[in-house]
């Protein structure tokens, strides 16, 4: 099956300057480094990792809200990075995003109707009256009342605002939505409502999601496949069940082990890994996880691990799982 979206060698380096934007470049922040993944139609790919791992930057690059430094993003057979403004805009109708902070993502001076209508007006897909009808329909679809259309964002709770953000993302009938931590700011009981809504919408409209989150429970619940990022790299990617049942990368193992389960147990649990995430300005040589890895070997400090596929569809970048001999040289020079 050809994927709906495919990112190849996607990279983003931010220049860090001395004293403001005109200063001398002091270093490169390697936010995302050489990341590959694919998302099929109607599929949810979960993207997890801790703060600063580059997961949100990946999401934003897919919409070209952040320009990639290198790589390609092929969506429905076209390279988004090669498109000029008009063609990009037409393509972007099908790619939308939902943000984490339902407070910051909605313009407080616009009514809900204007917020949801804005993408329709920009793309000119519907005339005035049909646009208003469409807004009412969308509000109903996300569990709000059409009567809410005249109100302003501050009149809504966090969960309701997130529904407004979802309605806006749906306005142009997209095929792919980047969900950037859509439930992280919400209370548990509200979080479940939004997760269910996203799943219902996916089933009905055949949407594909890139679901970015740091909560492994939520990601497991909603995803078909999951990718784990650490310091700008995807370290493991697999079908969800395989990843959670048998995580291969030591970082994935530690991440899963660190989630406090809502089940009291006798005795204390001990941390699997110590230390903190190193700076992306100066990532460790070799494998970027080696400074915290409980299985670190001499080679890990020297050589960046190539991607291996120990099981079909389960890829991991770790020296514990040597890549096939033929694949190794290209990856090592990369």
């Amino acid at each position: 099956m050809t994927p709906l979206l495919s990112a190849q060698r996607l990279t983003k380096h931010f220049a860090v300057r001395h004293g403001g934007v005109f200063g001398r470049v002091r270093g490169l922040l390697r936010a995302v480094d050489d990341v590959d993944f694919e998302v099929a139609a109607s599929e949810t790919l979960g993207l997890v990792g801790e703060s600063g791992c580059g997961k949100s930057t990946v999401g934003r690059m897919l919409l070209r809200l952040i320009e990639p430094t290198a790589g390609s993003i092929v969506f429905e057979g076209e390279d988004l990075l090669a498109l000029q403004s008009e063609a990009l805009r037409a393509k972007r109708r099908h790619l939308q995003i939902i943000f984490q902070d339902p407070y910051g993502a909605l313009n407080p001076r616009m009514t809900v109707e204007d917020i949801i209508k804005e993408p329709i007006e920009i793309h000119g897909t519907l005339d005035g009256r049909s646009a208003s009808r469409r807004v009412a329909e969308l509000l109903d679809r996300v569990g709000l009342s059409p009567a809410h259309a005249r109100r302003y964002p501050h009149e809504f709770s966090g969960g309701q605002r997130q529904r407004i953000g979802i309605a806006r993302a749906l306005a142009l009938n997209p095929r792919f939505i980047v969900c950037d931590e859509p439930v992280s700011a919400l209370d548990v009981s509200i979080q479940a409502q939004i997760v269910n809504l996203l799943q219902d919408l996916q089933d009905e409209m055949g949407l594909a999601y890139l679901f970015i989150a740091h909560d492994l429970g939520v990601v497991k619940h909603i995803s078909d496949r999951v990718a784990v990022m650490y310091l700008g790299k995807i370290v493991e990617i697999a079908e969800k069940r395989s990843l959670y049942a048998e995580p291969l990368h030591p970082y994935t193992q530690a991440l899963i082990a660190a989630v406090p389960e809502p089940k009291p147990r006798a005795g204390r649990r001990r941390s699997a890994i110590s230390g903190e995430i190193p700076s992306a300005l100066n990532p460790p040589r070799g494998c970027r996880f080696h400074t915290r890895c409980p299985h670190v070997m001499p080679i890990c400090r020297e050589l960046e691990p190539a991607v291996a596929e120990p099981k079909p569809g389960h890829r991991v970048a770790c020296h514990l799982y040597p890549a096939a001999a033929a694949a190794a040289p290209t990856a090592a020079t990369a």
Partner: protein, 325 residues
């Protein structure tokens, strides 16, 4: 031995018709060396309860309408500002959710740590410095001597929270109030901080009141748990009893709406609706409008928090059916 007793605490914001009761008739105890978890969602009153204990509620707009707070046999609500200052530190320490906003950005962490020690203990500057280094070592900060000269922005979120803990513990408090101490942290760092808190509890024999919205965190660290909803305690139990026999529909709803690492892609159970308007709460049980177990009687009167056996309290008139489904 009971260390802290909160009795019928009632905290209101504003006055007149728009007055909001943020904490309503809340009573609980914390024993020496115990870890008490307080869980609830935003607006449940858990942080206001903590601030009342610390004497840090801004009054006005807040007003303690009724109740008493007893620490080692004295009602600290009657304390003067000076007495409160002496209580904070050696009596009760507190750490907050946002380690960045809780530290002063223009002073080094050494200055801030030694200042805390100076306020509460008459020891020489050199002894203060030694104590500061000792505390930073205890909370797992590498090269503590060098770190004393760092400013808060030079530290990561996890490190800042460690510094906050070091500051709170510098005066060896008998009770540490931790308000969402790991919410802003990544999960691997969260685990390290929780582990640190439990280690320090053993070492200093201090009690901890941990406020969180994360049921996993509570399950991991608490001995006993209080569940709050819209300003009231709805359930209180030992941690095992609470998770195995949740006896209030809200607790049950909370537990069921968490996507666990073990479940699979079915629909999540949800609690319908949202928190009631605090200025106009429902007349009877505050959870009644969202409750799947509601009866006519639930609207008639506020159900009392009653002992349902074995130190397990529930404020639901149908607790029996809930505990043994």
């Amino acid at each position: 031995m009971t260390l802290l007793s909160v009795r019928d605490l009632r905290v209101q914001f504003g006055g007149g018709a728009g007055a909001i009761t943020a904490v309503d008739s809340v009573s609980f105890d914390i024993a020496e060396g115990e870890v008490l978890g307080i869980v609830g969602e935003s607006g449940s009153g858990k942080s206001v309860t903590a601030l009342s204990i610390m004497g840090l509620l801004p009054q006005p707009p807040a007003r303690i309408g009724a109740g008493s707070i007893w620490f080692e046999g004295e009602n600290i609500l009657t304390y003067s500002e000076r007495e409160l200052r002496n209580l904070r530190g050696p009596g009760i320490g507190m750490i907050f959710q946002e380690p960045m906003t809780s530290l002063n950005p223009v002073f080094t962490i050494g200055d801030q740590l030694m200042e805390t020690i100076r306020v509460h203990e008459r020891i020489s500057p050199r002894a203060r410095r030694e104590r500061a280094v000792e505390m930073l070592t205890k909370v797992g900060i590498a090269a503590p001597e060098r770190r004393l000269a760092d400013y808060p922005h030079q530290l990561s979120g996890g490190m800042r929270q460690r510094v906050m803990i070091a500051m709170a513990l510098a005066c060896r408090p008998k009770l540490l109030i931790a308000d969402e101490p790991t919410t802003a942290l990544d999960v691997t760092i969260q685990q390290q901080i929780l582990e640190l808190l439990l280690d320090l509890r053993e070492e200093f024999r201090m009690a901890i009141m941990i406020i969180t919205h994360n049921m996993g965190v509570v399950a991991e660290v608490a001995d006993r748990v209080i569940v709050m909803y819209a300003g009231k305690i709805v359930e209180r139990a030992g941690v095992k009893a609470l998770f195995e026999h949740p006896s209030h529909p809200y607790t049950r709803g909370l537990l069921e709406s968490i996507p666990s690492l073990e479940d699979d892609r079915q629909r999540l159970k949800t609690i319908p609706g949202a928190l009631p308007n605090p200025a106009a709460p429902p007349p009877g049980c505050r959870f009644e409008p969202r409750c799947g177990f509601r009866l006519e009687a639930c609207r008639a009167a506020v159900p009392p928090l009653a002992d349902i056996g074995g130190g397990h309290d529930s404020a639901c008139i149908r607790h029996r059916e809930l505990a043994n489904p």
